[in-house]
Structure formats: structure tokens, C-alpha cells
Subunit: 141 residues, 2 copies
């Protein structure tokens, strides 16, 4: 579960969007890039992916920008991470999204696989149960 720059930047941007006051909830790429120290053209691609995944919405043209597609309580870090970095599982044979056999003779009794399944579940448990609102709550309290 390495977090790439792509994933990191996307999560930071989403967290920033979640914390923006309701009346100015629409933020531009430039604003986010400046605040979070992210290369603007790179962030552009990332936000576009998040939009295509249905996590963001946007308004084009002057005065436009990005805003969350759903309230912060309903967007999890797991969704964001998967969108940007792909499956969460450490190895394909325990992936829910992108299962692929590892070629063991007997997968059911593969010790490595059983442990990696636990790891996957532990990570998914955190990421899929932490919403953008939960992230806010942890720092504002």
C-alpha cells in the first residue's frame, strides 16, 4: 500500500476541498496547487481522474473550479486512493478489485496469501471507513 505522489496530491486536494467553507466551496486548480505546493499541471490530471471517477464535479470557464460530488461524509479515502493508485491489496491474489492467481499449487492453503489477506483487510478497513469528514474531525478536535 505505497502512497504515490499522485495519490498523496489527490488526497490532499480532496481534504482541502472538504474543508473549504460552503460559500466558496469551488476551488481552482491554481488555488489548490499553490496552497498545497503541488505542480499545477500534474494536479490537473489528478483532479480530472477524480472527476471521471465521480468523486468531483467541476464548472468550466472563468469563475469555475472543482467541488466535491458528494458531502464529505460520503467520500472515503479508500475510493480516492483506489482511483489514483489502483488496488489496495499488497499482492494481486488477495485483491478484491483486481484478483489474479499467483500460481501457487493450492491457494487456499498458501500461508503467504493468508497473511497478505489480513494485511489487505486491515488497510481496507481503515481507508474504507475513513471519510473526508472523519479526517477533518481528527484535526479540528
Amino acid at each position: 500500500m505505497h502512497l504515490s505522489k499522485r495519490g498523496e496530491y489527490g488526497l490532499r486536494a480532496m481534504i482541502m476541498l472538504a474543508k473549504a467553507p460552503v460559500d466558496e466551496k469551488r476551488l481552482t486548480i491554481g488555488e489548490i496547487a499553490r496552497e498545497e505546493n503541488i505542480p499545477a499541471k500534474f494536479l490537473e490530471q489528478i483532479l480530472l481522474s477524480l472527476k471521471n471517477a465521480g468523486l468531483l464535479q467541476s464548472k468550466m470557464g472563468a469563475g469555475g473550479g472543482y467541488y466535491l460530488a458528494r458531502p464529505p461524509e460520503q467520500i472515503t479515502l479508500g475510493e480516492i486512493k483506489r482511483t489514483l493508485d489502483g488496488p489496495i491489496a499488497p499482492i494481486r491474489c488477495v485483491s478484491q478489485m483486481a484478483y489474479q492467481s499467483c500460481g501457487c499449487p493450492d491457494e487456499e492453503n498458501c500461508g503467504l496469501r493468508l497473511v497478505m489477506q489480513d494485511v489487505r483487510d486491515a488497510i481496507a478497513d481503515i481507508l474504507d471507513n475513513t471519510s473526508l469528514a472523519d479526517v477533518q474531525a481528527r484535526i479540528t478536535n
Copy 2:
């Protein structure tokens, strides 16, 4: 916490060495490579790294081979994984082994960091508390 081929092969080899009967505990690169379908020359490098990290011992020359440096109860998957794939943390700012600032203005109150810290701890908790003996126990029962 992605598991690279290097990490996967190393873990499989260590698990195989842990399960070998005591009287024939010394296995050659060739034997392990054949049994686990691992390119032999790649495995060679991996076992050498594990040896240099103090997790394996070896005997050179004809009739030689590799064997665990400690009993299976005393070697954790965490040690093996770290040796072969480096730090377990998903992002450097929560790494115990290789900490590095991510450049936030206030790391203590960085929401992303707090969550990633939880993820790191969850992974490390599993890997550092699962020994090679524990892996055996899970499949032989």
C-alpha cells in the same frame, strides 16, 4: 505496502525453509527455485540479501545450502519484508525506519499523516507479530 516479486520470492523461500524437516533443513538455491518456480539467479541475490541481514546462514561448497539463522518462531515476516522491500510505511513521514518530512506546514495536525500513521501501524502490527512458525501453524491446522 506493495509486495514486490523480490519480497514475495524471499518470503516464499523463508517459509519453505521453515517447513523443511530438521534433518534436511539445508536447502540449495536450486531446490527452492524449482519448488517455488522462482528464477534461480534472482533467488540467489535475494537469499544473499537475507543472509547479509542475518536472517539466513549458509554452507558453501558441494552439499552446501541455506538454513534459517534462528528458529522459525524468532523470525518475523516484518523483518523479511523490510530487508527486501524497504520500509513498510505507505509514506515517508510516518516511517519508523526512514522518516522524512513531507513538507507540510504542521505535521502534527496533518489529517493525511494521521490516517497514514494508522495504516502503517496496522500493517506493522500484523507483519511484526507473525513469525514463520505462525505461518506454518495457519496452514497445517
